[in-house]
């Protein structure tokens, strides 16, 4: 059973907490410190963002963290170097999130190979559409044993949700409403959408994301799903940190509020 599948296999009522962080933020070499402190403080899954100059699906906070990471000198090659041997310390599943262009320049197959070699579990590439995935890239992802996670939104039709579920493995990423990350949401509006997903007979567990920033919004989103993803709020919590100690302190106090 894959690491991601094991994470969702804990118990029926367990809600998975997936936390997003940006590789190379706050410092070029803080990636592993951030991941280690996330694991130590209760994150079940880590979504590791690869910074990009033109991140269309991200809001201002994650975009800015990506900008800092790029100024710090982060690249995909450097990231894979940083990740060599990280499995000695970190057992939680890690999915890489990023945009197609940097991955294409690295080489799609080379990227999947490097990811699998260092121990990455899955990929989220929001601007890779299902058509191109099916025709060109899906076979490569599978060849290297990686999970691939598609996004769905409240506007995604039932037919398309089923298609995206069939192409995904690991989990399905349910965007809580159609928006970029980091926007405040009224969760009563998305309850119907999230609760309705259970009726579709999906093969994958569902994690809700976008706009989840505290215990209240986490619990509200996770009520109808297998868990939720926090991004911008954690990046905000990391602001001003520099070394492993301050990262650990900020992560602990942030995650305590979610897992209290």
């Amino acid at each position: 059973m894959s690491r991601i599948a094991q994470t969702f296999n804990k118990s029926d009522n367990y809600k998975v907490l997936n936390v997003y962080c940006t590789a190379g933020y706050p410092e070029l070499n803080s990636t592993i410190d951030v991941m280690r402190s996330l694991q130590q403080n209760g994150a079940d899954l880590i979504e590791l963002g690869m910074p990009y100059s033109d991140p269309l699906a991200d809001g201002e906070i994650i975009q800015q963290s990506g900008g800092v990471a790029l100024k710090n000198g982060m690249t995909i090659s450097i990231l894979f170097n940083q990740l060599k041997g990280f499995r000695k310390d970190i057992q939680v599943p890690v999915v890489l999130m990023g945009y197609m262009n940097p991955v294409l320049q690295y080489g799609f197959e080379r990227f999947c190979k490097s990811a699998a070699e260092v121990g990455i579990d899955g990929l989220i590439l929001p601007d890779l559409p299902p058509l191109e995935y099916q025709q060109e890239y899906g076979a490569i992802v599978k060849e290297y044993g990686l999970d691939f996670i598609f996004l769905i939104t409240p506007e995604t039709s039932e037919e398309r949700i089923k298609l995206l579920d069939s192409l995904s493995s690991g989990f399905l990423y349910a965007v809580s409403s159609s928006s970029t990350t980091g926007h405040e949401k009224d969760f009563s509006l998305v309850e119907k959408y999230l609760s309705g997903l259970s009726g579709y007979g999906l093969k994958n567990p569902v994690l809700a994301g976008f706009g989840i920033r505290d215990k209240t919004s986490f619990d509200a989103a996770a009520k109808y799903t297998d868990g939720a993803i926090i991004g911008s709020a954690y990046i905000k919590a990391l602001a001003g940190t520099k070394d492993a100690l301050s990262i650990e302190k900020a992560t602990k106090s942030f995650l305590q509020t979610i897992r209290q």
Partner: protein
């Protein structure tokens, strides 16, 4: 007319195109993909579009035989006068088309991105005409260097929102507009101003701009007895005026299609927007094309004296023309373009937009065989660029 170089059902021209978009945009883009051709071909739509092009925009725009310029270059040169359109550029052709289309899709709110401001002005103009809310994203730097167009947009009732990220120019304005669309998926239509973006934008915008080459054909026939020029020259940022000027000549192999990109301070100066020379295949703003980027896939910030050409990519149609060899791609520096602008002004009494000056500069770079009939797309007028021209006037006295 059947086009041989045509977009396929998934939005590809050869290896370039597609719709590389986050799922949040899928319903909007899928609705457009499904409906744009049937709406555009609908008789009522065509009637209103053609009426507005004729009586509101002032089409057909003249095809002017520039006699003194022809004498200087030593060949017959025609200028397609898109600068004489209402609002001063070719952008209005597409803005009218897309706003009429948005209305038929039931959208109430229009967003746009703009570089030089011509597309923003055109979109704001049509929104005023149709009573629609209009929000225009514009790079903070472009807001400063294109102040007259910012004032025009505001006077027309549009809200101009500065893009403060990245290079603070057209690329970043496009990012912000796409984000706005993601956050407002149901009531909003995004009027993209060039032949870039996810399918169907490159094809849709090319079709709205194809009126340029449709007119060139019959106007040239009237003047010369032949529909076909030997060369068509147009500037390329994203490439909408070039796509329109080339459209009905794409499968006329005798017509050489020449695109002029902005070389800025020099192609290899580090301050350039010459995408086909400096770029490599990549994905930007929703389609696979040729993109200026680092080896690590980060998009490079371009430079041009002309805000409308200050873009690190080209549309997928142009990428295909380049890769297949059907199009010839040249570049002009800031200085070469300024020289061409002052030259046209003094020879013909026409002040061109800085964008169009790049196309004019192409005339200096091509050896025209005897008997050539060259059409240059004069995509816009230079009023908006007067500050820049005044700064350089002494150099050309």
């Amino acid at each position: 007319m059947k086009q041989q170089i045509q977009v396929d059902e998934n939005g590809y021209y050869g290896q370039f195109g597609g719709a590389y978009i986050p799922e949040m945009l899928y319903p909007n883009v899928a609705q457009l993909q499904k409906e744009y051709i049937s709406i555009m071909e609908d008789a009522d739509f065509q009637k209103e579009y053609k009426y507005l092009l004729k009586d509101y925009v002032g089409r057909p725009s003249p095809l002017y035989l520039a006699q003194r310029l022809s004498a200087q270059i030593g060949t017959e040169i025609y200028l397609k006068r898109e600068d004489l359109n209402h609002t001063g550029a070719h952008k209005i052709n597409n803005a009218i088309g897309q706003v009429l289309l948005a209305q038929r899709l039931g959208k109430k709110r229009i967003i746009a991105e703009t570089g030089a401001g011509q597309h923003g002005v055109a979109t704001a103009t049509v929104c005023a005409l149709k009573g629609l809310e209009c929000i225009v994203y514009m790079g903070e730097i472009d807001i400063k260097r294109q102040a007259p167009n910012v004032a025009r947009m505001k006077m027309l009732g549009a809200k101009v929102i500065p893009a403060k990220s990245g290079s603070k120019t057209l690329k970043d304005a496009t990012n912000e507009a796409i984000r706005d669309w993601i956050n407002n998926p149901t009531d909003t239509h995004y009027v993209i101003g060039s032949v870039v973006g996810p399918h169907p934008y490159p094809d849709m915008v090319a079709r709205f701009q194809s009126i340029i080459s449709e007119e060139i054909r019959w106007q040239l026939k009237e003047k010369t007895g032949s529909e076909l020029p030997t060369h068509v020259i147009a500037c390329v940022g994203g490439g909408s005026n070039a796509a329109g000027a080339f459209y009905y000549f794409l499968n006329e192999p005798s017509v050489e299609l020449i695109a002029v990109e902005a070389a800025g301070l020099g192609i290899h100066s580090g301050h350039s927007a010459a995408t086909t020379t400096l770029g490599t295949p990549g994905v930007l703003h929703g389609s696979k094309s040729i993109v200026m980027q680092t080896a690590d896939g980060q998009v490079v910030e371009p430079h041009s004296i002309s805000a409308g050409l200050d873009y690190p990519g080209i549309g997928p149609l142009h990428a295909h023309l380049f890769a297949s060899g059907r199009g010839r791609f040249l570049s002009a520096t800031d200085d070469q373009s300024l020289k061409a602008a002052f030259n046209l002004t003094r020879l013909e009494g026409i002040i061109p937009a800085l964008e169009s000056s790049h196309a004019l500069s192409g005339l200096e770079q091509v050896e025209f065989p005897a008997g050539s009939r060259v059409v240059v797309c004069l995509s816009g007028r230079g009023d908006k660029d007067m500050d820049t021209y005044m700064k350089h006037m002494a150099d050309f006295e």
